[in-house]
């Protein structure tokens, strides 16, 4: 237990032009090792062209217990969507 390496979250960019996406986690002693392990574990079949690793303890997340309040404000604002507007017959490029 005393020597369990820290945990890292792994993000892989599958091709240039796409964002990095979370793929899982792993243990490694330092960042360099985390990147190498991530390559060996998550890109064995050309799944990536770039990898980010972030120590799991450095990830800050929203609290699911507060999800309703936290995300609530955007729920009833349908006017933020183009679909809530009436487009008069014959009007184009709108």
């Amino acid at each position: 237990m005393k020597n369990q390496w820290p945990q890292w979250e792994v993000f892989v960019r599958s091709e240039a032009g796409l964002a990095h996406k979370h793929v899982g986690s792993l243990h490694a002693a330092d960042a360099r090792m985390a990147l190498e392990h991530a390559r060996d574990l998550y890109t064995r079949r050309n799944e990536g062209v770039s990898i980010w690793v972030v120590k799991s303890e450095n990830v800050h997340a929203t609290d699911p217990q507060e999800s309703d309040e936290f995300f609530g404000p955007s729920e009833d604002k349908t006017y933020r969507f183009p679909t809530s507007y009436h487009v008069p017959e014959g009007v184009k490029h709108l």
Binding site: M1, N3, Q4, W5, Q7, V23, G24, S25, L26, H27, A29, D30, M33, D40, L41, R44, R45, A61, D63, P64, Q65, D68
Partner: protein, 326 residues
Amino acid sequence: MYTQMSDGIDGQPNASDERERAFERRLERGVKIEPPDWMPEPYRKTLVRQISQHAHSEIVGMLPEGNWITRAPSLQRKVILLAKVQDEAGHGLYLYSAAETLGTPRDDMIAALHAGKAKYSSIFNYATLTWADVGAIGWLVDGAAIINQIPLTRCSYGPYARGMVRICKEESFHQRQGFDIMWKLAHGTPAQHAMAQDALDRWWWPAVMMFGPPDAESTHNRQSLKWKIKIFTNDELRQKFIDQTVPQAERLGLKIPDEQLRWNERTQHYEFGPIDWEEFYRVIRGDGPCNKDRLQARIDAWEEGAWVREAAAAYARKQAERGAVA
């Protein structure tokens, strides 16, 4: 969902009951559960047990095949087998990391395995006596694993389901390379054909048992189905495996060692002979051909690797200190 933990005074429903109902409604709606979400303790425990056992199976499962890497009959077969065994290591790691999201450190799970407290799939307690066994494992054992694992890509726990998606993509290579070995042997010299048949004879029943005890005896079945950490019952999956595999054996020109095996036109399923559950429980209890060797090999690898883990941790600490000073 907003309620605090309370003792349910004044006829108010208990907060944990409330959360439990919310959890069940969520499962019914097919919304996945993610690591920070509230979940009932038995759900968490069952998942940790199931996922860590699955992880242990992947890791221990490297041993019977690893046994043949240096003796593969050609360089091509050797690189294939090496890649397959490496994949299994990866499967173990994906699964440990999925289980860790439930709050159990990986080292604790590994300690439980080494202490003999955690189980792994009993199939890996059988010996790989010939090269054909490597073929039979890929074809039958990985084939059974696929049938088990594909439904789990839809299970209710997000990290487990996502891990299964990655794993299933890799498993079909495993099964095909195994079938390919069997195909070559079955169409080779009479001695090679006999070797393939012998492997099928020895691996068939253990593979059929991989789906676990019959539904009537399975204690976890019902609750796991309700929680959607199991989608089909043991017997349903077993039947599917047999229905899929029998025609493959026929194409190979090999005979499945079951005198009672026959196609039922009415049910559109194969009927099969009785399974020796005594053997299954005996192997699970520790009396299989290789239980001791397998566990000892894992313990040795862990202990002999301890200095590497310590050295890397010490090096990382030192680098961090230097960085802090500079």
